[in-house]
Symmetry: C2
DNA sequence: GAAAACATGTAACCGGTTACATGATTCT
DNA sequence: AGAATCATGTAACCGGTTACATGTTTTC
């Protein structure tokens, strides 16, 4: 159900096509939420039926058209309601840590390779999020700027700092995962010596 | 697909019934992996068909029977193969951080309540994992002891330290989430003053 | 003119959730 | 005798993944 609200969050800034939203997920916000186009298009249709968004055909080039969605008042209410509702914390299902608990079953070579993958994965995320923070601070974030334009002066600081707060959490997470995997590598080294 | 391997991990220690496995998920290992009974029983059936486990009916009380599953050689191979394979890192889908990025949409009261829920959730997990570490260190972990009994002396340290390593990572994760949410609470306080 | 990007879908499948259903055993 | 626990399932549903399919526009 969160896809719906991730889409509403983006559409609360400005109208977009399904493809625009897909690209957003692949770039900045995508690092918090992701969905393939095959999930986005049908969801937008459903949201239109539910009255949360409205799609209108707009011309695209000489012959083409595309469907641009804008959020409705009901969509704004739904998003705000979701934002005020508590979210449910589902039970832990953590593949890397499950595997780590049984790492003696892996060969040292494979264990090292997997820990390095873990480091590589979270290093890439870390860089992306650091870049996001940099863009927030330097005022280069297009989407944030668009949001701030529509935000009363008094609330702009608030909006910016919450966005920054979210990314800071993700940065610390990534750093922690990297350090954890590095500890694992050292542990394997010690055990094998 | 990980449920299958989480079950094999447990069955590699000793034969168990579906209900035993369910209880394991609800307690210690459950904090790394969880599955409801409605998912476990059918999965065990499939694993039996695939030759990874074998179920045998054993008497239970005067009239009842229960099905106890034990891992097969093919199951051991499958588990070891999975342990040596790299796992795929799927795209981030992080509800708490998604909401945090748009926290200005929530009322301060609700934002505070949600951050406190976040703290409560991760504090509970933290305590459980600290307890798990304590049990590993004190030799009270029944499942680990059972595993160590079947482990050659030379590999016992390895097995114990990897298990500890996994929980240490989870503990750091939990602490980080708690600190992050506390920063969020301070941020709201500052903004509202 | 070709390639890359823009644009929009359908369909089969899969892992996981929730609800429903039932009965035996053990403990108090 | 009743409650808690042990035991085992089915079925509907839902969110998400992967594969397939197609056509337009823009850029080089």
């Amino acid at each position: 159900m969160s896809l719906r609200y991730a889409l509403l969050a983006l559409l609360s800034v400005e109208p977009m096509t399904g493809y625009d939203l897909y690209k957003q997920f692949e770039s900045t916000v995508g690092h918090v939420w992701y969905a393939p186009d095959s999930q986005i298009y049908p969801e937008l249709r459903k949201m239109d039926q539910d009255g949360l968004v409205e799609g209108e055909m707009v011309p695209w080039g000489p012959r083409g058209t595309k469907r641009r969605y804008h959020i409705t008042d009901a969509g704004v209410v739904a998003f705000r309601t979701w934002m005020n509702d508590d979210l449910e914390y589902s039970r832990a299902r953590d593949r890397p840590h499950l595997k780590a608990a049984y790492l003696e079953w892996a060969t040292p070579t494979s264990a090292i390779r997997q820990l390095n993958s873990h480091i590589a994965h979270h290093t890439a995320e870390l860089h992306q999020w650091e870049e996001n923070i940099r863009e927030i601070d330097s005022g280069e974030s297009v989407l944030l700027n668009r949001r701030l334009e529509q935000t009363p002066e008094a609330d702009r600081k608030r909006t910016t700092l919450f966005k920054r707060f979210a990314y800071e959490g993700l940065i610390t997470q990534a750093r922690q995962e990297i350090e954890w995997a590095q500890r694992g590598l050292r542990l394997i080294e010690e055990l094998d010596s």
